[in-house]
């Protein structure tokens, strides 16, 4: 039975409004740490894939030598997560990720007339909009109170914070999966073709964002199978029309479930067809063996870390309650419990066996979509709406109301019910307020982000004592509020103890989670602002369309998305580097496509002298097509450069310039320094000095990284 259906419309609507208000607050909070920049290699795959799609209707790169439209350029920068296209071995690369997210990025690029900034807002918006979906899902099982607490727990999960400002697949994935499931649950309870189609499409679309979400077909299948049976229960029988004759009845019973599955299958089939057509494989991971990288050997390595990370970093304090919820609710309402089980566990189980399992968020992010059903279990099992925990047998029970005074009893119950709702609402608000104080202090810390020039000023605003004070005040304010409300609850009804206990545990979870979340948000803010400052400086000096050589691959990951420069890492002109690329395809899963290494090796095999010549040829080709050529180099310290400039000497020369340009016996190209600047370096010392001080901390390090830009011109 849908627990939320027992609530009044006013409560339900108020809860929904509160959920959206909290979602907006969450968005504002996380936006304080947001910058439209990311230098990750995964993110390059999604973003550049989207950009390519917006231009060519394919997420594909065809790097060709400048001036020659078809000749493969093996030196052009292609990030690590791109795989060689099976049908076009010669000269193209595709992201190994499914097309769903690049397609959304392409839509945003189209919508913003070619601008790239909008794409970075997709994840924060998707994550914020996921919160009401979590509320709706959890409310189905434990009422509005549980829904709000579950939503708060999800919003303050460190995992959510780590992913909210990250333009990879997880925020969008959890958005589509959770809203899809919310729609499916709604269809389950009230029926309707629109809900079946909507739910199926969204859940199916999540599989086009992350392949592993294809497992979400399991709860859909279960819902499709079970729901017709559910309609025959006494509760539901009153809600449906009298049964029509047999053929019509069968059609009616199975039509909507089939519609649900068909809606799910539509995007999935489209994805499979697309992959087979373009890549020649069912998934982009096939060529790296990652789609078969599951096994017991990995499980034995992963289980402890997965369980620990999920219990501490994913659902802080809530995982055991979710397990208890499963215990309590599965025998009581197996149909809906199995639906949640099939939503939560296959994905969790799958990644327990996966080869790629780095400790921390690196592993946990894979199972983001399992968090909402686990929270649903936690609050379903906790709250009286989900089945009150039995009173010990010895305790006296309240006498049953007699039929003689129905009005008095009814009034009394209604008054108490209203009071309980009021008190619980206040309690939720207190929990939210506690989290809000943390948010306030975090935002205050970051309020003046618009005046962050120079970056040093910002970095000097390191986490300080008042933040900690804020968190502490929030925590204790919450505790005091909880105790006060607990007293009120106890006065209202002794049955409210589980409500109070659930609230207290959630309060601890929310407070601790918010404190840890701030770490991830800060970390993201430090990183992205450092990169933003670097990229802005580069773009001010290197015009769009120019050729840029830069060994800093993370920077290239970002620049490839936001600029139209021809990018080269320059490392492929070094024979030793080329020889070190993975080429042989074994059965072991690997991150990088070995075919790419082989292709590179085949294309540029030769001695170093030949590679040197290729470097010069590449530069000449760019110059011949009227592109300017720049070399960007980062060095750890600006001191040697400063000293040289003081002595009016040339100073350190970028490796690329020294080896391939000025080092030539017959130089026809010359290089000169255009500019140099420094950027404060941010160091995350989260792992410093084990075993002491393992609490993750962000500490800006005021050593600077020096960048210098050289321009190469014809001599």
């Amino acid at each position: 039975m849908d627990r939320s259906a027992a609530e009044s419309k006013l409560v339900r609507r108020t809860g929904l409004v509160a959920a959206f208000v909290l979602a907006v607050a969450f968005f504002i909070w996380t936006q304080a740490y947001f910058e439209p920049v990311h230098v990750g290699t995964d993110q390059n795959g999604y973003l550049v894939g989207g950009k390519q799609f917006s231009r060519t209707l394919l997420p594909r790169q065809w790097p060709t030598i400048l001036g020659t439209p078809t000749q493969f350029d093996p030196h052009a920068f292609v990030s690590n997560m791109w795989v060689a296209g099976a049908n076009d071995k010669a000269a193209s690369f595709d992201p190994k990720y499914p097309i769903g997210l690049p397609l959304l990025y392409a839509l945003l690029i189209w919508a913003s007339a070619g601008g790239t900034t909008a794409a970075f807002y997709l994840s924060p918006i998707a994550m914020a909009l996921t919160l009401p979906a979590v509320f709706i899902v959890v409310r189905r099982f434990s009422g509005t109170y549980g829904g709000l607490l579950g939503m708060l727990a999800f919003a303050t999960s460190p995992l959510t914070a780590a992913l909210v400002n990250n333009p990879n697949s997880h925020a969008v994935n959890v958005f589509t999966a959770t809203w899809g499931m919310a729609a499916v649950l709604h269809w389950w309870h009230v029926g309707g073709r629109r809900w079946a189609i909507f739910g199926g499409l969204l859940v199916g679309y999540s599989a086009t964002v992350r392949y592993s979400e294809g497992l979400l077909v399991l709860p859909l299948l279960w819902a499709a199978l079970v729901r017709p049976v559910a309609r025959r229960t006494p509760v539901d029988l009153g809600m449906i029309e009298p049964a029509p004759p047999w053929p019509s009845r069968m059609a009616r019973r199975w039509f909507e479930p089939l519609l649900l599955l068909a809606a799910w299958a539509a995007p999935v089939i489209a994805l499979a067809a697309y992959n087979l057509l373009l890549l020649g494989t069912l998934t982009g991971y096939d060529s790296t063996n990652e789609s078969t990288g599951f096994g017991w050997v990995y499980f034995f390595d992963n289980w402890e870390a997965l369980l620990r990370n999920l219990a501490v970093g994913g659902l802080f304090l809530m995982l055991p309650l979710a397990i208890i919820g499963m215990v309590r609710t599965t025998p009581r309402d197996p149909r809906r419990a199995v639906f949640l089980l099939l939503w939560a566990w296959p994905c969790l189980g799958l990644y327990a066996f996966y080869y790629w399992g780095p400790d921390g968020v690196g592993m946990l992010r894979f199972i983001t979509t399992s968090l909402p059903p686990l929270l649903a279990f936690a609050f379903w099992g906790l709250l009286p709406a989900g089945g009150r925990i039995a009173r010990p047998v010895s305790e006296p029970t309240a006498p049953e109301p007699t039929a003689a005074v129905p009005d008095a009893v009814g009034q009394h119950s209604r008054r108490h019910a209203a009071l309980r709702v009021a008190v619980r609402t206040v309690f939720v608000l207190c929990v939210a307020a506690a989290a809000g104080v943390v948010v306030f202090y975090s935002v205050r810390f970051d309020r003046d982000k618009q005046t962050l020039a120079p970056l040093q000023t910002y970095l000097e605003r390191a986490p300080t004592a008042y933040q900690r004070t804020g968190a502490t005040v929030a925590f204790f304010a919450g505790i005091v509020a909880a105790v006060a409300i607990a007293g009120a609850l106890a006065a209202t009804s002794r049955r409210s103890t589980p409500v109070m206990a659930a609230g207290l545990v959630t309060l601890l979870s929310v407070s601790g989670g918010a404190d840890a979340s701030r770490f991830w948000l800060e970390q993201n803010a430090y990183d992205t602002r450092m990169w933003q400052a670097t990229a802005r400086a580069v773009r001010e000096r290197v015009p769009d369309g120019a050729m840029l050589v830069c060994r800093d691959e993370p920077l290239l990951n970002y620049l490839q998305f936001v600029t139209d420069n021809r990018l080269y890492s320059g490392q492929s002109f070094d024979r030793n580097w080329v020889n070190g690329r993975p080429r042989a395809l074994s059965d072991d899963p690997v991150l990088m496509d070995p075919v790419r290494g082989q292709r590179l090796f085949d294309a540029i095999k030769g001695d170093q002298a030949a590679l040197n010549e290729q470097a010069r040829a590449t530069v000449r080709a760019a110059l011949s097509t009227n592109r300017r050529v720049f070399v960007l180099e980062a060095v750890a310290s600006a001191d040697p450069l400063r000293q040289a400039l003081r002595k009016k000497e040339e100073g350190p020369v970028p490796d690329f310039v020294r080896r391939y340009i000025t080092g030539s016996k017959n130089p026809v190209l010359v290089g000169r320094r255009v500019d140099w600047w420094t950027v404060p370096q941010v160091v995350k010392d989260e792992f410093r000095s084990i075993p002491r001080g393992r609490k993750p901390l962000n500490r800006p390090n005021f050593r600077t990284t020096c960048f210098q830009v050289w321009e190469i011109t014809a001599g």
Binding site: P320, I324, R328, V393, M500, A501, P696
Partner: protein, 640 residues
């Protein structure tokens, strides 16, 4: 119920009035038959015995810890002299770091309370020559006793099945496992707390005098093992308030019996401290007991998140939220009984949350909270009990629920056991696992045997600090630390003195530091070597023997001092010991300082992708095998 036969009545004429207000029953035991209860109790005993045997597999009669030295040597002194005080014959004689100096008398005392040393002294008095080894059994025995006590304590709140589950959760917690073999205060203190509170509840239920006195005494004795357990007096006070009939003097007397029992050990402790050290606690002179310095709200702000995270992760993995929920439910079923749990948990937690010493090391920090875990574990029992009760109406839930609860407990226990065995802390292997601790202590015990069999009592023994911490207890020697006779030590002490605010809490007593500095400050290595030679010469002149214990690869650093021709001393190795090979965990990959690392905030871990080597625990690839070789060198006069 015993209550009927235990209620006294006022004299005739004043009407029938009970002498106390008994604690309302939490649940009737009629739901469980006598046979049922007997079987459960037998099971609890069996589990406690099995737990003791398990812990014993990792037991060794030695420990190199500095805290442990305080307790053990304090106990030895108490057994021999009636006081824990120690005053070496030579000013540079070894006194470990956790001792505080009474500047008036020149005697040093462990800064810890006298309770645990008293237990060690009792063992030494009663066990004769095996006393020094038997003393190390106190922690495992009391740990198993505490585990058994958890069963009986939880029975006051829940049924047999839930109590057995709670017992297992407590027993296999990582902190409990690691401390069960450790001769410091935590295991024994836990036992006194658990049994004390159990008896206190029974006293409230029955009003029996012996229970009241014993409960008070046990809780008071817990305070003589760890000062902070004095907070359990709140439970006694709450019990008094809850059960006393304010109008009856006899009721007052009866209800005060736990207080009287509590006062006996506490008065002894305070009296001893005042007489011996001149302060109420041993921590007073280190500023570690001063509110506003050692305990501050600022510390609370810094520590709360760390505490919750560590208790959830390391202390009571998987069961903390269940326990808190259960404690809430316990309030519903009986406010007074439930309040006892919260009164036990909250004041102690807040106290240690406000404490200055809060390292980010799981067990090192959480050991303070070991005695605060029982109320949470009882909460786990309450929750399981209520889940099982609620499920008993239908057939399927009746079967599934206990099995599922058992599985949850199994997950928590197996994870903690796995971590405890290998000393895993946030996925990283540390040296505090049962296996590595066992190997370390076995080596130390064997080394102690070698030394005690070779060097006669009364000899001078110069050895490294860690070994000396143990040998000072195991043997009867004039001990000197090798590091004391180095200029680097004086430099270190000076640095500590300079860098610390005298009003800040300081683990090492400033007065003792000053005393040591007075002896060695300003002297170079040669002068300090001469001090050492002088000590040895005086001992030899007095007819005693002198020994140096050192690693073979460091022998030259010590022996060359005695090779000068001007000296009439010579040296000769006379006993050897090779440590069992030690397998070091693989060195962690150096932390990445590059914020551009792939995949965002990942941390490599041993055995995992991105970490150094795959293979998990039990695969020793990449580990360094080390085995230290020790030798005992005797210093003698040259012949002729």
């Amino acid at each position: 119920m015993e209550r009927v036969s235990l209620i006294d009545y006022m004299p005739p004429g004043e009407g029938i009035r009970p002498l106390f207000k008994p604690l309302p029953a939490f649940r009737t035991e009629s739901a469980e038959t006598r046979g049922h209860r007997a079987v459960a109790a037998a099971l609890a005993f069996a589990i406690a015995v099995a737990y003791f045997l398990l812990v014993l597999q990792y037991w060794a009669p030695a420990h190199s810890g500095v805290d442990q030295n305080g307790y053990l040597v304090g106990g030895k002194q108490l057994a021999w002299t009636g006081s824990t005080g120690l005053k070496p014959a030579e000013p540079l004689g070894f006194v470990s770091s956790m001792w505080v100096l009474n500047e008036k008398t020149g005697v040093s005392y462990p800064k810890y309370p006298v309770g645990l040393p008293l237990l060690y002294a009792i063992v030494l008095w009663t066990c004769g020559s095996v006393g020094p080894k038997a003393a190390f059994l106190i922690s495992p025995v009391t740990a198993a006793t505490a585990v058994l006590g958890m069963y009986f304590l939880t029975r006051r709140f829940a049924g047999a099945f839930a109590s057995l589950m709670a017992m297992l959760v407590m027993a296999f917690g990582q902190v409990m496992l690691v401390l069960a073999n450790n001769p410091n205060s935590h295991a024994s203190c836990l036992a006194f707390c658990v049994w004390g509170v159990f008896l206190l509840i029974r006293f409230w239920e029955t009003g029996t005098l012996w229970r009241g006195v014993t409960a008070g005494f046990l809780l008071g004795f817990a305070a003589t093992i760890r000062y902070t357990e004095g907070l359990l007096a709140l439970l006694i006070a709450f019990t008094f308030v809850g059960m006393v009939d304010w109008r009856s003097g006899r009721s007052w007397l009866r209800c005060l019996t736990p207080t009287l029992g509590w006062l006996i050990p506490v008065a002894y402790l305070v009296g001893f401290n005042l007489i011996a050290m001149g302060t109420i606690t041993g921590y007073d002179t280190t500023n570690e007991s001063v509110p506003g310095s050692a305990f501050t709200l600022e510390h609370m702000g810094l520590n709360w998140e760390k505490l919750v995270r560590q208790v959830h992760d390391t202390g009571l993995f998987f069961t903390l939220p269940l326990g808190l929920l259960g404690m809430g439910l316990a309030l519903r079923s009986g406010v007074r009984r439930g309040t006892l749990l919260w009164l036990w948990l909250v004041p102690g937690t807040l106290t240690y949350m406000a404490y200055y010493w809060a390292p980010e090391r799981g067990v090192s920090y959480l050991r303070f909270f070991l005695t605060l875990m029982p109320p949470i574990v009882v909460g786990v029992g309450v929750l399981i009990d209520q889940l099982v009760s609620a499920a008993s109406v239908a057939r399927l839930p009746r079967v599934v629920t206990p099995v599922a609860c058992g599985l949850v407990v199994a997950v928590a226990c197996s994870m903690s056991l796995y971590r405890g065995l290998f000393g895993l802390d946030e996925g990283q292997e540390t040296g505090i696992g049962l296996e590595s601790q066992f190997r370390q202590q076995v080596n130390l015990a064997a080394l102690g045997d070698v030394v005690t069999q070779t060097a006669p009592a009364g000899s001078v023994l110069i050895a490294p600090v860690q070994q000396l911490n143990a040998l000072q207890f195991i043997g009867d020697y004039d001990c000197f630390s090798t590091e004391t006779f180095t200029a680097a030590y004086a430099t270190r002490l000076n640095a500590q003195k300079t860098n610390r605010d005298p009003d800040d809490p300081d683990p090492i007593q400033p007065a003792r530091r000053n005393f040591l500095l007075k002896q060695i400050d300003g002297k170079n290595d040669d002068q300090l070597a001469q001090e050492q030679i002088g000590i040895v010469s005086r001992a030899l002149s007095a007819g005693r023997r002198a020994f140096i214990l050192c690693r073979r690869d460091q022998t030259a650093a010590f022996t060359k001092r005695y090779e000068a021709k001007s000296l009439d001393l010579t040296w000769k190795p006379i006993a050897f010991y090779n440590d069992l090979p030690r397998l070091q965990p693989p060195t962690d990959r150096p932390p990445s300082t590059d914020p551009r690392a792939r995949g965002g905030p990942n941390r490599p871990r041993p055995g995992g992708p991105g970490g150094p080597g795959r293979g998990g625990r039990g695969n020793f690839a990449g580990r360094e095998v080390t085995a230290q070789a020790w030798q005992l060198i005797e210093i003698k006069r040259r012949a002729g």
